[in-house]
């Protein structure tokens, strides 16, 4: 009995104090470490896919950049009727420094930029024949993001000027070490544009002519056309747009309607963010559509003032609207499928850019401005024009590209007022987000937003 007891006690104590320190090593099952992520070409390519996903989120090209760019420009054309105060304040051109949409566009934008930077930094890990393609795409995404950030958070680019006004901070190296001081100051608008041009020119050289739904050579070129136009570099804009029209395989869809709500990119899309039922944000449908289409009932409603701008009764675009079941107001038909891709660059824009640049330069590279405008109008079944002037070209832009995020940039570029505000009014530049001012002492706030 005693013996049994002793054995039993020893057994108990034995199991009790058996070391189990190995049990403290538990590794995450859903994640990998930064070291692993940056150790293989396969993972670097994965990071690029991640950067597309990031850029396609609702905070960025999943809709908020486009939506706020239009709301910022709307006066009578459309009204923000929704309940959210942050877009409403943008529509009112009276933004508080803690506006969460303004904050999130910034944060998301720099997440995309950092991911693109990581791809560029580690490109040598990728198979050599893939390196140009992968790095080129990262540069495209970085340029796209910087272009929208600098236009929203920096005072307008003034053609032919020095453009030393503060733009946004340029971060060009991927951050993986978060232990040091991460504060960086704003670069000038000029510096940011120079970086964008460098990235896009490189991307154009490095990317293939077609690249499935990812950015290709002509996506870079088309964006280059847009940047040059914003800068008033009409030669650059014209030649780039012409290159895309003539050399890329893109073509306008047969009807205007077919250019929108496509779950697979249409031929007209030079670049689009991909949305599926399983991923990708679409805040455009959320705010522009009625509830049974996935919207909130119609937060942004179209006013008669906009519809009256159409000068042709047969113009399909003049009836590309519907009445909301929820609030009875007029809504645009551009966003009626919540799982449709979001086009960022359509070929139609290239015709508009070439027309405007040719007109301003008095040239007819590719085609005459009138012919280019009529290509757009013909597709929409609008009557054709005989001889267009700058006003007609700009108006055509507005009619064709409405609700696609062009308005405030076009108004500022052409120095047209926004309601009562001059194009360069302080209120037409976003504040640097308060949370960013709070954590980065090197940032300078934009005028009109406190210290």
């Amino acid at each position: 009995m005693k013996k049994y007891r002793l054995i039993f006690a020893t057994f108990l104590i034995g199991i009790a104090f058996t070391s189990c320190e190995d049990e403290l090593n538990i590794e995450p099952a859903q994640e990998i470490s930064t070291e692993v992520a940056l150790s293989s070409g396969e993972n670097v390519e994965n990071i690029l896919i991640g950067a597309y996903e990031e850029a396609g989120q609702a905070d960025s090209y999943g809709g908020d950049i486009q939506m706020l760019s239009d709301l910022y420009g709307f006066t009578n054309e459309a009204t923000w009727r929704g309940t959210f105060t942050q877009p409403r304040d943008v529509f009112r051109k009276n933004i508080f420094v803690d506006n969460s949409y303004v904050r999130d566009i910034w944060l998301n934008g720099y997440e995309v930029i950092n991911q693109a930077n990581l791809v560029v930094d580690n490109i040598e890990l990728v198979d050599e024949e893939e390196q140009d393609n992968i790095a080129g795409q990262a540069m495209f995404l970085r340029a796209l993001t910087y272009f929208d950030l600098v236009r929203l958070y920096g005072a307008p680019y003034e053609a032919g000027q020095e453009n030393s006004q503060p733009g946004v901070p340029l971060s060009l190296e991927g951050v993986i070490d978060y232990s040091g001081n991460l504060e960086i100051p704003r670069n000038s608008v000029e510096e940011v544009y120079n970086q964008i041009l460098e990235d896009l020119n490189n991307a154009f050289e490095m990317l293939p002519a077609s690249n499935s739904f990812f950015a290709d050579k002509y996506a870079a070129k088309a964006l280059l056309a847009r940047v040059y136009l914003q800068q008033g570099n009409y030669t650059g804009a014209r030649d780039a747009a012409n290159d895309v029209i003539e050399n890329s395989d893109h073509s306008l869809t047969d009807t205007y309607e077919e250019a929108f709500n496509n779950e697979v990119d249409s031929d007209e899309y030079i670049f689009a963010f991909q949305v599926t039922t399983q991923g990708g944000g679409n805040d455009l449908v959320l705010h522009y559509a009625q509830e049974d289409l996935g919207g909130r009932g119609g937060d942004i409603t179209v006013n008669p003032e906009f519809i009256e701008m159409f000068d042709s009764e047969t113009d399909d675009r003049s009836s590309f609207f519907y009445e909301s079941d929820d609030n009875g107001e007029t809504l645009t038909s551009k966003y009626t499928n919540q799982f449709a891709n979001i086009p960022v660059i359509r070929l139609a824009e290239m015709y508009l850019i070439r027309a405007e640049a040719n007109f301003r330069l008095g040239t007819s590279i590719g085609n005459t401005p009138t012919e280019d405008i009529n290509v757009i109008r013909e597709r929409a079944n609008a009557n054709l024009l005989d001889n267009v002037g700058l006003d007609e070209i700009l108006k055509e832009r507005e009619l064709e590209l409405a609700f696609e995020g062009f308005l405030i940039q076009d108004l500022q570029r052409t120095m047209r007022p926004v309601g009562d505000l001059e194009y360069d009014d302080e209120r037409l530049t976003f504040p640097i987000p308060q949370r960013e001012m709070d954590v980065n002492s090197l940032l300078e706030q934009n005028p009109g937003y406190g210290q």
């Binding site: 189990c20 320190e21 930064t34 692993v36």
Partner: protein, 997 residues
């Protein structure tokens, strides 16, 4: 727990004893108390032998003993009695109640200690404190009962999260919840809700099976739990069988509940008045009227608003009369070798908010058996099933409470009885009718234990504990639900978290030379927790009749993940008492955890404490007034490891883009991340006067939390918005005062207990040269309390033009005002945590009638109403407004705090102190009035006890706070101390009956 002590006492006698029993015989007798009532379970031991028995249910015992041997009779709460065996075979004994009522036993982790000899601060609550409070949450029942323990239920939802703060908030970014230990098993306490609002994981506990709750408040007590003790430890001990005849008790109660408070909102006429004026102020007379009328027309949805056809009281639709139904039974009993306790309970609660319900079944079996008088073993096992019908989180349009934003002009229902879908905001009634969100939690918690007494002074315990928290959620939204655009959507999730723990320790206990008492506990513990989660979302259903994922034509989302953590710990504790007068204690725990990087995987947490019982000294021993006086002091270190499992690492997670796999960074690396460590110093005084008729304690503490874990905002340009860092130092300093008194004794008894505690929280240092850390409306600033409110200061209304004004609060412009909120600077304007909390409990008894009630009070906190910019915005937008907005500025000279009504005017709607208010309150937390039938009637009925009672919860609230409830804040993670369409607490009236056979 009493039982445990009894076992100890039984085992105490030495093995070596008298070997010769010349005149052994059987001694029998009855043990009674001073009133002559038999006491069951009294230990009867022959001194200096290992022979011992316990009295049966009628107080009878029978033991073999020889003449001249000494019998020792002992029972908790009574003075021990030593009696010599004489020639008589019958020896009846009357035990006197122990004058030192302070000598209750507290559970301190890996053992128990007498409160009298304790050098730590431990608050003990018993089943009486929590029974009969009509709420399904055990934790809610603790409110006001223990000094320095703040209990707050987030809001009025039945499953709502409960926050318990012991001596203030000692962490910022890590968890602030105490560690819960149930019968030695650390409980899983992770919120697993997926609808944006937390559920309370401890809802699975039923109060009927709880014997006691011991709250370890100071570091000296909690240090034995090391890296998990920083927020205090709540030790829950379940009931055990008492030896004797089996007893069966049955309890049933039923109560009705209603919101504790309602607010006044504009009716249809008032809405028309205010909004017509607002539109005219913005657009001018003619256009304004047109805008307003167009709006009214649209809101009225075809009804005639001009004639007041519709005047919907939306608030009335949001809230409903709920009920709480409780029934439970328990059987307990045992003999010398075996004791058992079985219980079952059912709770059925219908919440006060439309669509919110809960029902719960719990069962427990606790069995222990003594194989030999050295070897004791047993099993505690419980399971529960909690079924919750949930509603949306506070920050969702279909949160029912958000319906207060619907103008009264809008009909709630159409003529055909369907909810009106053409409302300003989505009509929650559609959600209520065509959608559901059901959460089902199954929980199994158990512990197998064995205890072997090697020698009288040395014992070995080994425990194996297991806790399984298995939750499923099922959601379906039919076609008519607001925002539904995919022919129905279903969501299903399943999460199983299991934790097992093995604890093995030796306990040594010996008295040397009659005056040196030494107790030592030393051992190890290993705890492993594993969590598996899966969920899936499907859309496109054939009809609304199909509501499970199976019928979804398209699966749009799914996930499966696994995570885990482990803790390996070694601990030791020694307590020493000299002459029952001078007390010393020291403990240490060494913890390792997988949550921290390999560089910082282990931490050591020591504590020391000492005490001096002055009343044991000669100069006070005979003092008739002062019956007990003890000084104690303690210092200890604990840790807070309550963070994400892999918080220190730089991580990339998987993402998908157009069905292509990718990866993206999702956490910034900080290899230096380590525990938060909390150093706490406590100085206490315990007193008793007049034979301890008046007793209590006074404590001062200073608690410093160092290396606070925090999600520090990073410059966005770095690509990550936040990083986990150990950023700084915070201090909680406070005093606690407790007084208990038996005001009347005898036929009429009245005992009262009052506690009040002050806690002063200060952020002492922050990294990056002490730069402020601002998150939404909350700021961390050196010298200010944690998460203080940081807001523009509202300066009221310009009497000349009705403009809302804000103080500029610039460096040179202190009291200047501006109408432009962007020109004004924010200030620290209050704090979200109470500085003073108090509880006042009274128990009265007279001839079968008992009355008990608890008042609870809190002072010094404020609540920011984030919904204020919509609810009380002087007609800024279409939302219905609080009735106080009628007091708006209308003409020059008007003195008011409500600016001129301006539709779309943003006049006063910046986030400012306009929407911040102090939330001091005193609340009659619960009250119970009962009647017990007289003994002779009970006996005739063949019962042991029969009692009926009325019980109420939140019967009365005294506060100046104008929101729904001074304790309700948002459950949608909108900041600390922020309320957002948050429902008030329930007020419940309940009646019940207790039966005991």
């Amino acid at each position: 727990m009493k039982k445990k002590l009894q076992r100890l006492l039984v085992l105490m006698p030495l093995l070596v004893g008298h070997l010769i029993f010349a005149q052994e015989k059987v001694v029998t007798g009855t043990v009674t108390d001073s009133d002559g009532m038999p006491i069951p379970g009294v230990n009867v031991v022959v001194e200096n032998t290992n022979r011992g028995v316990q009295t049966d249910f009628d107080g009878n015992y029978s033991i073999e003993a020889s003449v001249a041997e000494i019998l020792v009779f002992s029972y908790l709460g009574f003075a021990s009695e030593r009696r010599a065996v004489e020639t008589d075979d019958v020896l009846d004994v009357q035990l006197a109640e122990d004058a030192a009522a302070l000598d209750e036993v507290v559970v301190v982790g890996y053992g128990t200690q007498s409160k009298r000899m304790l050098t730590d601060n431990v608050a003990k609550l018993t089943s009486e404190d929590i029974d009969e409070v009509p709420t399904p949450s055990v934790q809610s029942a603790l409110a006001g009962k223990a000094a320095g323990v703040q209990v707050t239920q987030t809001n009025g939802k039945v499953e709502g999260g409960v926050n318990i703060r012991i001596r203030g908030v000692s962490s910022i970014g890590a968890g602030s919840e105490p560690l819960y230990v149930l019968d030695g098993v650390p409980l899983i306490n992770n919120n697993e809700s997926n609808n944006g609002a937390p559920t309370n994981p401890l809802l699975t506990l039923s109060s009927n099976e709880i014997e006691s709750i011991d709250i370890l408040k100071d570091a000296s007590a909690a240090a034995v739990y090391g890296s998990r003790g920083a927020n205090g430890v709540v030790i829950i001990t379940t009931k055990k069988g008492k030896s004797g005849k089996a007893s069966l008790s049955l309890n049933y109660s039923y109560g009705v509940s209603e919101p504790a408070n309602l607010r006044d909102w504009l009716n249809a006429d008032e809405y028309i008045e205010l909004f017509t004026e607002a539109a005219i102020n913005t657009y001018g007379e003619e256009e304004g009227l047109a805008v307003a009328e167009e709006n009214f027309e649209s809101l009225a949805n075809g009804t005639n608003w001009r004639d007041g056809e519709v005047d919907t009281d939306w608030q009335d639709l949001i809230f409903q009369n709920g009920f709480v139904q409780d029934m439970d039974f328990s059987v307990s009993g045992g003999d010398e070798k075996t004791s058992y306790f079985f219980s079952g309970a059912y709770n059925d609660t219908k919440g006060i908010i439309t669509g919110n319900e809960l029902d719960r079944v719990t069962a427990r079996a606790n069995v222990s058996h003594r194989l030999t008088n050295k070897f004791n073993t047993g099993l505690n096992m419980s399971f529960s099933r909690t079924n919750i019908d949930r509603i949306a989180n506070d920050n969702a349009f279909v949160n029912p409470v958000q319906a207060v934003a619907q103008p009264a002009l809008s009909p709630a229902y159409l003529e055909d009885g369907e909810p009106n879908s053409n409302t300003l905001y989505p009509n929650f009634l559609l959600q209520d009718k065509y959608a559901f969100y059901n959460t089902l939690v199954r929980r199994v918690t158990g512990r197998a234990f064995a205890e072997y007494q090697f020698f009288e002074f040395l014992k070995f315990n080994t425990d194996f504990g297991y806790d399984l928290y298995y939750q499923t959620e099922d959601q379906f939204e039919g076609r008519l639900v607001p925002f539904q655009a995919t022919n129905g959507e279903a969501y299903a999730s399943s999460v199983a978290t299991e934790s097992y723990v093995t604890s093995n320790y030796f306990s040594f206990s010996k008295t040397f030379s009659g005056v040196h008492d030494l107790d030592v506990v030393a051992g190890m513990e290993y705890n492993n927790t594993n969590r598996r989660f899966q969920d899936v979302t499907g859309i496109e259903f054939p009809t609304d009749d199909f509501q499970t994922i199976e019928s979804a034509a398209e699966i749009t989302d799914g996930s499966g993940e696994e995570t885990g953590n482990s803790f390996l710990s070694y601990f030791a504790r020694a307590t020493y008492a000299f002459n029952n007068k001078y007390l010393l204690k020291a403990s240490v725990r060494r913890d390792g955890s997988s949550r921290f990087g390999s560089e910082n995987q282990f931490g050591t947490f020591p504590a020391v404490s000492g005490g001096w019982i002055l009343t044991e000294e000669n100069f006070l021993q005979d003092n008739t007034v002062l019956s007990f006086l003890k000084f104690r002091a303690s210092y200890g270190q604990t840790g807070n490891a309550n963070i994400d499992d892999f918080a220190s690492r730089g991580l990339f997670g998987g993402v998908s883009y157009n069905q292509r796999p990718g990866i993206a960074p999702n956490q910034a690396e900080n290899p230096l991340l380590t525990w938060e460590s909390v150093d706490q110093f406590d100085l206490g005084l315990e007193y008793g006067f007049l034979n301890n008729r008046i007793s209590g304690e006074i404590d001062y503490y200073l608690k410093e939390s160092d290396g606070l874990l925090f999600e520090v905002p990073l410059p966005g340009t770095s690509g990550r918005p936040i990083i986990n860092r150990n950023i700084g130092l915070m201090e909680n300093e406070g005093v606690e005062f407790v007084i208990n008194a038996d005001i009347f004794q005898g036929d009429f008894t009245w005992s009262t207990s009052f506690n009040i505690a002050n806690n002063d929280n200060t952020v002492k240092s922050l990294p990056t040269d002490g730069a402020d850390i601002i998150t939404g409306q909350n700021i961390l600033r050196e010298g200010e309390p944690i998460s203080a409110f940081y807001l523009l200061e509202y300066a009221g209304v310009d009497p000349d033009n009705g403009d809302a004004l804000y103080y500029v609060n610039g460096e040179d412009t202190e009291r200047e005002t501006t109408t432009n909120p962007n020109e004004a600077n924010r200030i620290v304007a209050g704090q979200p945590y109470a500085e003073w909390i108090a509880g006042f409990t009274n128990s009265l008894y007279y001839k079968g009638i008992d009355l008990a009630f608890t008042f609870q009070g809190e002072w010094g906190a404020s609540i920011y109403n984030a919904g204020g910019v919509y609810q009380s915005a002087n007609g800024d937008y279409y939302d219905n407004q609080t009735a106080d907005q009628l007091d708006r500025w209308q003409e020059p000279g008007d003195i008011t705090n409500v600016p001129q009504a301006r539709f779309f005017g943003a006049n006063g709607t910046a986030q400012s102190t306009r929407y911040l208010q102090e939330s001091d309150f005193i609340r009659l937390r619960n009250l119970t009035l009962g009647y017990t039938l007289p003994d002779h009637i009970i006996e005739e009925l063949g019962l042991q006890n029969f009692r009926v009672y009325f019980s109420g919860l939140n019967l009365l609230t005294i506060t100046d706070y104008e929101g729904y409830d001074p304790e309700s804040t948002s459950d949608a993670n909108q900041g600390t101390g922020v309320s957002f369409y948050s429902a008030p607490a329930a007020r419940t009236y309940s009646i019940g009956v207790n039966l005991k056979f």
